[in-house]
Subunit: 193 residues, 2 copies
DNA sequence: GTTAGCATGTAAGGAGTTACATGATTTT
DNA sequence: AAAATCATGTAACTCCTTACATGCTAAC
């Protein structure tokens, strides 16, 4: 369950959920969401689209002839099966769902989900980050016993990283609180975009 | 030039540069440096060590029999060729050297480098991050022209990420300033660990 | 007595990149 | 006249993970 390749598939489904797009444009938007370092290549995107076509998650829209280049651009839209898969993946709680990319993609499409799912994703991410912090702090204690060689730069690197994670935890806590406030305002909300 | 697998090789060389270690212990230290999400598997580490052995970058130290487990642990140390390779990689300015992992590893072993190299790495990373920020800001302007659908969550995600990158840029700037101050104090410094 | 940690390794497979192939149009 | 952008696609390769195989000791 929860293959790794699902993260890109989820992003494609999410983007097409907002309207039909062709491959080239999809890649640009994808890179905006994945942002930071990762630049998805065509050699990865086009085969993924082909695969999703085969699985009937998306279909070709009656192709607009050709605007700029000689070759026609192929416009895709989600099928009903694709929409179902999108919602399934958004709500899924697999162990991969909290990694940086997977979390970022889910967060990006939060508007298309309900409050319950959002809370689950946000809290899951926070728990994951707190586990990491606990692990690092455990390591630090272990090192205090037998002084491993306290390297100035190595320590500074860890300090900066711990701070960044702590900051994200606070950010998540604020968001979780904001979602809970909404939850209180309306007992049952019509939240599905 | 600058294959991707060199990042782990560099980390191994850096750790062994501080003293001989066996595979199991190497993995633990590696995960401390790579930290955050990435957990290097044995299926990746042991073949890498074998490969580095073949390339004569490391050698087996006269194996300590066996402390806890039945099987002997194999202790490695760097060769002269390995040390040379370590310094070569640390100073290298290839396009991969500024990615998160590659930068983190180089930073972690800064104590084993000279001031010139440290400045090159820090400034390179900062330039890379500033390019990213410029790209994102360009995208934002492009979107203001034809309003793409301003999604609350998507905007919040980008805001948070931009802030994190801006924070790292400030961190880098402080470090660069600190290194420059040292540079001024001593015209020619004996900085090589 | 069962779980966690120590310790090394192999085989199969997944997810992605790089390099290649092709070619028109717009900007510099 | 060159470079960038538009637009799609394939083949080879790389790096890494997962799952498997093996077995001992310490802690709970």
């Amino acid at each position: 369950m929860a293959r790794r390749g699902e993260t890109i598939e989820l992003a494609v489904l999410g983007l097409l959920h907002e309207g039909p797009l062709h491959g080239y444009e999809l890649r640009k938007r994808l890179n905006l969401i994945l942002g930071w370092g990762r630049l998805l290549s065509y050699g990865s995107l086009y085969p993924t689209l082909k695969k999703m076509l085969r699985e009937r998650l998306i279909t070709e829209v009656d192709s607009v002839p050709a605007p700029v280049t000689g070759r026609p651009r192929i416009v895709y839209r989600v099928t009903d099966a694709g929409t179902a898969e999108f919602h399934r993946l958004m709500a899924e709680v697999g162990p991969n769902a909290w990694e940086d990319d997977a979390f970022g993609i889910r967060f990006n499409f939060f508007s298309s989900t309900n409050l319950e799912t959002r809370l689950r994703v946000l809290e899951g991410r926070r728990t994951r980050l707190e586990e990491r912090l606990a692990r690092v702090r455990g390591d630090l204690e272990g090192e205090q016993k037998r002084p491993v060689r306290s390297d100035h730069y190595a320590i500074e690197l860890r300090r900066q990283r711990v701070e960044a994670v702590e900051r994200e935890v606070r950010w998540l806590s604020d968001l979780i609180q904001a979602e809970r406030d909404r939850q209180d305002e309306r007992g049952t909300a019509p939240q599905t975009s």
